[in-house]
Structures are given as C-alpha cells and as structure tokens.
C-alpha cells in the first residue's frame, strides 16, 4: 500500500501526531529503564549467599554479661543439641542476611597505608564452617588446632578462609593460599583456604562488588564469641526447629533477651533482607502496566476522533473502489508511522534517562537489545489500540459519501 497519502494526512494533523509521538517516546524511555531496573533488582534478589539457606536457622541472644558467656554457650549448645531435627549446633557471630558484625578495613601491609577492602569477618566455633555448607575450592578447611582463642572482638592472629571474589580483588591472578593481610596494624591473618561464595551479612550495603568480600576465622567460643547460634537442620525442618530453639533459649537463659528480629531461619532472613527490592519491583511493574494502559487509551481516543472526523472521506474512498481492508490498513499504517516516530525520539530519551540513573545509582549502561524489544512492544500496543477504531472506520458504508454531513 502507499505510504505517501498517510504522510500527507498526518502533516495536516501535526500537533496531534506530535503529541502521540511524544507520549510514545516518554513511554519508551520509562519502559526501557523500568524494565532494566526490574532486571537489576531481580538479579540482586538472586544473590548467592554460598550457604545452605534452607537447612539453617540462627538464634541471637543479647543482654548477658561477658563473664557468664562461656557457661551460656555450653548450656545453649547442649540445649539445642536435644531438639529433634537439629543435626548440629554451633556458635557464630552472624550469618548472611543477618545483623552486620565483624566488619573492618584490611590492608596488605602492616602499616595500613592502603585499605583496599572493607570485609566482614565471620567468627565461628568448631564445625560451623561445615554447617554453613560453603564450598571449598582451594586450600583446606580449618582443623581443630586452627581454632584460636579470642581476647578481643577480633582474633589477633588467625588462619582464615576467604571467598574467591575477595581473593581475586586482593591478589588478581595470584594464588591466595599462604598470603597475609592485616587490620588495625596488629591484627594478622593468613589465608589457608578459598571458598566459592560466602556473602557478607548485609550484601550490597557497601556496593555491588563487595557483596561477597568476606572471610571466615575459626575461633573457640568464649566471652567474646557468644550469643549467636547456628543450627543445621534436616532439609525443610528449619522453621519448626527455629520455633523449638526459641522456646529452648528462653527456658535455658531466662535472664537473657532473645533478639526476636534476628532469630530466624536463614531463608526468612533472606526474604526480609530483599523485601524492599520486592516492593520496588512491584511498583515498577505497576508503573509499566499503567503506563501502557494510559498510552493505549490515548491512542484509542485520538484514533476514534480521527475516524469520526474522516467519515465522509472514508465513504468517498469506499465509493470509488477502496476495500474494507484498504481502510483498515490505512489506519494501522498511520499508527505504525506515529509509533515509529515516537520510538525514534524515545531511544534518545531512554539513553538520557539511563545516563541520569547511572550518575545517581550504581547502574550499568542500558543494554542495546532493550530498545528493539521496547519498540516491538509499543508497535504491538499501538496496533492493538488502533484496531477498534480502525475496524469501525472500515465499517463505514460507501453511501456516506452521498450524504451532505
């Protein structure tokens, strides 16, 4: 079919055409960026913690005095061991998606001149690393002799296991085994093993890259490592075990305070940690749906107006030989041209929005394939929206041409 008459007609409706195109352009820009943001959030929510989330529960006690802590640990581990479904119980300072603990800046030199990374140091009693279920990829797991005694919140000299991403960041391309790092000048750590993944307690809170920058130090439970308990359960048993463990904890240590917020299964901690991202994803989806709806309604409204305005011309065209299909195709083509014009404008706008978002948020460039996808979506939307009015136009009988109004 000929495109020229469609162009000629559109030129007579420059303002309305421009408005719809502008609307399409804005819709295209928001659609691309909103989809991109959704993908980003979804990827964040898929973050790998490296631990067996579904069979882990964490119990946190507070409000006890340091001098009784050793005794508390012994009583709690004993009590937890008696709960049906508990495979093992361990003392640990925190778990992925739990409260921040053991965060410090580390340096490869004792002088602490440069601090290349801020990491989370997990401190765990015997068996806790195995209970977490992290995957060892190099070196060795801690042996009984490796478990050091704490005289402060951090061990002053300890063997540690670090994650692959931290190793790659500190010693790019090198072998991390046997390497050393320092913190606060006097605190010295030597790498004995590398694990595939072990997310920091609040992954993403210190930037995307550092989500997996953690280390694990084998430590004997005692006055400086007490109150946090990791329970390994049979698969699927974690929620029930947690309920029993909370009751046990309150019974064994009525003078302590059970931190209700922190005492959760690791799966629930994860759910709660990403609650904001889920909320934001829902909002973005809501925006996209209402945006497409409003755009479609705008197209329907304007197309209906044009059909009404051109009834007589349609009648004349039909009277001199145009088929219904010709009329239908005319309106579909007209819409296609307007949407295409809008998409062209929208590509520029989408990139401008993306640049603005990149400045304010940690976002990458908008991938190129988003644009053709958005264009196709808007073309389909436009064609569907205009179909109703176009069918009504096609139904105009040729006899209209003979009437005066």
């Amino acid at each position: 079919m000929q495109i020229r008459p469609v162009f000629t007609a559109l030129r007579r409706h420059r303002l309305a055409t421009l408005l719809i195109a502008l609307e399409i352009a804005l819709a295209c820009a928001v659609l691309c960026n909103a989809c991109f943001l959704i993908i980003n959030r979804v990827q964040r929510m898929k973050m790998i913690s490296g631990v067996d989330e579904s069979s882990l529960a964490f119990v946190q006690l507070t409000g006890f005095e340091t001098k009784g802590a050793k005794d508390l640990n012994a009583r709690m581990l004993n009590g937890f061991g008696g709960i049906a479904g508990v495979l093992s119980a361990h003392v640990i300072n925190t778990v992925p998606f739990g409260q921040q603990a053991g965060t410090f800046g580390i340096s490869l030199e004792r002088s602490m001149r440069n601090i290349p990374a801020v990491i989370d140091l997990y401190l765990g009693g015997p068996g806790s690393l195995e209970a977490l279920g992290v995957k060892l990829v190099a070196g060795r797991a801690p042996q009984l002799a490796d478990y050091v005694t704490l005289t402060n919140d951090f061990p002053s000299d300890a063997p540690v296991l670090i994650t692959r991403s931290l190793a790659e960041h500190l010693w790019p391309g090198g072998d991390p085994l046997g390497k050393e790092f320092w913190s606060g000048g006097d605190y010295h750590y030597r790498v004995i093993g590398v694990v595939e993944h072990l997310a920091i307690a609040q992954p993403g809170s210190r930037g995307v890259a550092s989500a997996d920058w953690s280390a694990f130090a084998p430590v004997q439970p005692g006055p400086f490592l007490a109150g946090g308990y990791l329970l390994r359960t049979a698969p699927g048993e974690a929620p029930r075990v947690l309920r029993d463990a909370r009751a046990t904890a309150m019974k064994i240590a009525p003078d302590s305070v059970l931190d209700q917020d922190a005492s959760q299964t690791v799966s629930d901690l994860r759910m709660r940690y990403f609650e904001n991202d889920r909320g934001m994803t829902r909002i973005l989806i809501g925006v996209i749906v209402s945006l497409l709806l409003v755009t479609a309604l705008g197209i329907v409204g304007l197309a209906s107006f044009w059909v009404g305005q051109r009834r007589k011309q349609i009648g004349i065209r039909r009277a001199i030989g145009a088929t219904r299909g010709d009329i239908l195709r005319y309106f579909l083509m007209e819409n296609f041209l307007i949407v295409s014009f809008g998409v062209v404008l929208g590509i520029g706008l989408a990139y401008a929005c993306n640049l603005m978002l990149m400045k304010r948020y940690e976002l990458a460039h908008l991938p190129f394939y988003y644009l053709p996808l958005a264009a196709v979506a808007l073309w389909v939307l436009g064609q569907l929206a205009v179909l109703g009015p176009a069918l009504r136009a096609a139904a105009v009988p040729p006899v209209v041409a003979t009437r005066s109004v």
Partner: protein, 441 residues
C-alpha cells in the same frame, strides 16, 4: 460569564462521557502516582525542627592521628576526648553529646520479661535544644551530668508498655545491673529523620531508610550511661583496634556526636574559629595530624550532606513524574480531539459575537473542570497509594500520611496540569475560522 461557561463545560463533558472519563482517569492516575511519591518525599526531606534547625550546628573534627592518612572531609562523629572537650568548653548557647547503645532493661514494677531497647546517652541540654516534649516530669540538670546521677527519661511508648501510660516519674528501672530513677516521660515524639544520630550517609549507597527510625526508649546522662552500659558501646569507626570491646572512653575510635546551638551569625563565626583553634591546639599536642580539617555544618546542611532521603524514594518520584508527563501528553491529545470536533459550535458562537478570548476562556474552564474531577480521583488514589506505602516494611511507614499542605497540593497540581494541558487545545479552538465552519453546515 464564568457560570455560563461552567454550564457549557458540564454539558459538553456529559455529552461524551467516555472521552471525559478517559481524561479524568489519565489526570487522576497521574496525579495519584505523583502525589503519593511527592508526599513521601515531603515527609522525608522536611525540616525535623522547623524554626529551630537554623540555629543547630554539628562541629566536626578529624581526630585520626595516623600520619600517613589524609582525609578530604572530617570524621562524621568524634572520639571521646574531643567531644567532651568541646562540650566542657561551653562556648555555645547550648551543647550536647549523643551516642546510642542497646541496653538490657527491666522494670521491677511490671511483670514484663527483660527488654533490649536502645539507650541514648546524652546531656542535660538535649531536651531544650531539640524541643523534646514532656508528658510528665522533666529532664535532668547539668549537675546530674557532673554527678553521674542514676536518672532516666523514658519514651511515651516505653511508658505505655511498662506502666500502662500512667505517670511513672519516681519509678525505678533496672538498666543492666544498675537501678535508675525515672524523672521524666516524653510525649509521643517522632522527628523525621532521627536527625541527631544521622551519620555516615555517604557510605550508605542510597540505602538510608534507617535514618527514619524511632527515637530511643531510654535517655540517661552521658556520664552515667558510660558506667551503666560499659562494654556495650559500638564505634562508628576506629583508626586502631580498641583494647577492650565496647569500652570506648580511651579507645582510638570515633563514636560520639556533638551538637551545639548558636543563636546568631556572630556566634556561629566565633564557634567556627573556636573549633579550628581547638584542632590546631590538639595538633600542637600531637594528638591530631589534620588540624585544618574541621567543619561546622548546620542541621539541614548536615542532613543534605548525608543524603538522608533514600535513593529508592528519589527513584519513585522520578518515575511518578515521568508517568505524569505521559498522562499530560495524553490529556492534551484528548482535549485537542474534543475541542476541535466542535468546530461548528465554535463557528456559531463566533458568528454571534463571541471573541477569541471568550472561546479560549470557555474551553479553558472546561479543561479546568476535568482537572478538578481528576484531582478528586487523584486524591482518592493518593490515599490508596499512601496506605500501600504504610504496609511496606520501611522504618518510616508509620509516619506516612497526607497533611493539609499535600491535600491542597493535590488539587493545585491537578488544576495546574489540566490548565496546562488545556491551553494549547483551547488556543487552537479559539482560532477556528467561523466562516468556514458555517459554510460546511
């Protein structure tokens, strides 16, 4: 004339109900989305102490003595000695120290199991400086700070929980292993954000919702709480490891916030000099290395510096306004269609003597009426949107409400948008040549 145009507008809107509904829907949805996010922005970016904030300042110094480390900006909080030195100098109209820590609390008078609320260690001036409202009793005096009195002020919510809201002044609380006497109970108090503890926003990657949490439940003199809750204080950061965890008085750590009240510009300038002189003196004593790294931001400057409004809230506002722009385009298009369709009516009115301006006014009033209807829909959608926000698990969810300003803004914005949308179509309609239209009849 206005009444007549209004009548015409109502007739015209009734004439084509579907088109009218489409326009009202577009404006209403756009307004609802933007006003929801705008209200959240308004609540989160507002002044926590209107009328008072301009006289509140936060001195900042750089106490890190490590010679090799050079900071571009001072530390967010201070070490114990710097903070107490500035406080003891009494160079401002008022000055206070603040630091929070979790504390085990039990009330002998109530049968509740022990709780673990947040304790705010602060000084006598805190309550007067920050206009903290009292329900019963009062705060403590400077002498209490000096004597390390075992007294406490508690929040309204803790008073409700432990004493059923009754006057609990004179009651005893166990804080860890110490007995303290309640001397004051606050009225419900919910500053937004919890400005006096805001710090470290630049490291938060936009995730700053935590700044909007509730105030602490227990307020105890700074000097007393250091003894009561020794071992339970958390550092903001340390330049070397503390010897005893949680015992920060002599630790190489930054953990105490200082606030001062300065009545006029002269005092501000004088205090700025005082802080700079203090830093220079500390450098002379070899305690500081970066003496020139001092600042004195005002409360609002400090909130701004910390970027307290969460990044997600900004993002939602941008989205909502992009959406409003789309709705605006849509409405312009629909109004244009509606107005230009009435060429013959315009022709008759022009032929009978109506001026361009009269036609323009008539159509603008019609657009305004659409805006008003859209405003009502937008208001309802805003209320619905805000109730959704209240169900989100964010710390500020309980504060979200539509105040009278935002209620008014809803309708002002809606009218402004519709009039803006109506201007171009009304102008085009008023330019229609009457002769052509009449001939076509």
């Amino acid at each position: 004339m206005f009444g007549y145009y209004l009548d015409l507008a109502i007739r015209s809107l009734k004439h084509n109900k579907v088109l009218t509904a489409l326009m009202v829907l577009a404006i209403g949805v756009g307004i609802g989305a933007s006003m929801t996010t705008l209200t959240v922005m308004h609540l989160l970016s507002g002044d926590p102490l209107p009328g008072k904030s301009a006289s509140l300042f936060r001195p900042l110094v750089d106490p890190d003595p490590t010679p090799s480390r050079k900071h571009d900006t001072p530390m967010d909080v201070m070490d114990y000695r710097s903070a107490v030195d500035l406080w003891n100098a009494h160079r401002a109209d008022r000055q206070t120290l603040v630091v929070d820590s979790p504390v085990k609390l039990a009330a002998p008078a109530s049968k509740m199991p022990p709780l673990m609320p947040s304790l705010l260690a602060t000084t006598a001036d805190f309550f007067a400086m920050f206009d903290v409202p009292f329900q019963y009793g009062s705060g403590w005096s400077d002498a209490d700070d000096q004597r390390r009195s075992r007294v406490a002020v508690i929040s309204a919510s803790l008073n409700d929980k432990l004493f059923g809201g009754a006057n609990s002044v004179g009651q005893i609380l166990h804080l860890r292993s110490t007995d303290v006497r309640i001397i004051g109970v606050l009225k419900p108090w919910r500053p937004s954000p919890l400005f006096y503890l805001v710090a470290g926003g630049r490291f938060a990657h936009g995730d700053t919702a935590g700044f909007y949490g509730k105030p602490e439940d227990v307020f105890v003199p700074f000097s007393s709480s250091l003894e009561i809750n020794d071992g339970y204080f958390y550092q903001f950061t340390c330049w070397a490891a503390p010897k005893v965890p949680g015992h920060l008085i002599d630790a190489p750590c930054e953990w105490v916030s200082v606030w001062v009240e300065l009545g006029d510009a002269g005092k501000v300038a004088a205090y700025r000099r005082f802080v700079a002189d203090y830093a220079a003196q500390q450098k002379a004593l070899a305690r500081y290395t970066n003496a020139d790294n001092t600042r004195l931001p005002s409360l609002m400057e400090w909130l701004d510096y910390n970027g307290v409004v969460p990044g997600d809230v900004h993002l939602q506002a941008w989205l909502a306004f992009a959406f409003l722009a789309i709705c605006l385009c849509n409405t312009i298009g629909l109004l244009l269609a509606k107005f230009l369709r009435r060429g013959s009516e315009i022709g008759v009115r022009r032929a009978l003597g109506a001026t361009h301006a009269a036609i323009f006014m008539q159509f603008l009033i019609e657009a305004g009426l659409v805006g008003l209807l859209g405003g009502i829909l937008g208001w309802l959608l805003t209320l619905a949107g805000l109730s959704l926000v209240r169900q989100q698990p964010t710390p500020y969810a309980d504060m979200v409400h539509l105040d009278e300003w935002m209620f008014l803004t809803t309708f002002v914005l809606s009218l402004a948008v519709s009039l803006l949308a109506g201007t171009l179509p009304a102008f085009r309609a008023s330019r229609i040549a009457p002769a052509l239209q009449l001939k076509a009849q």
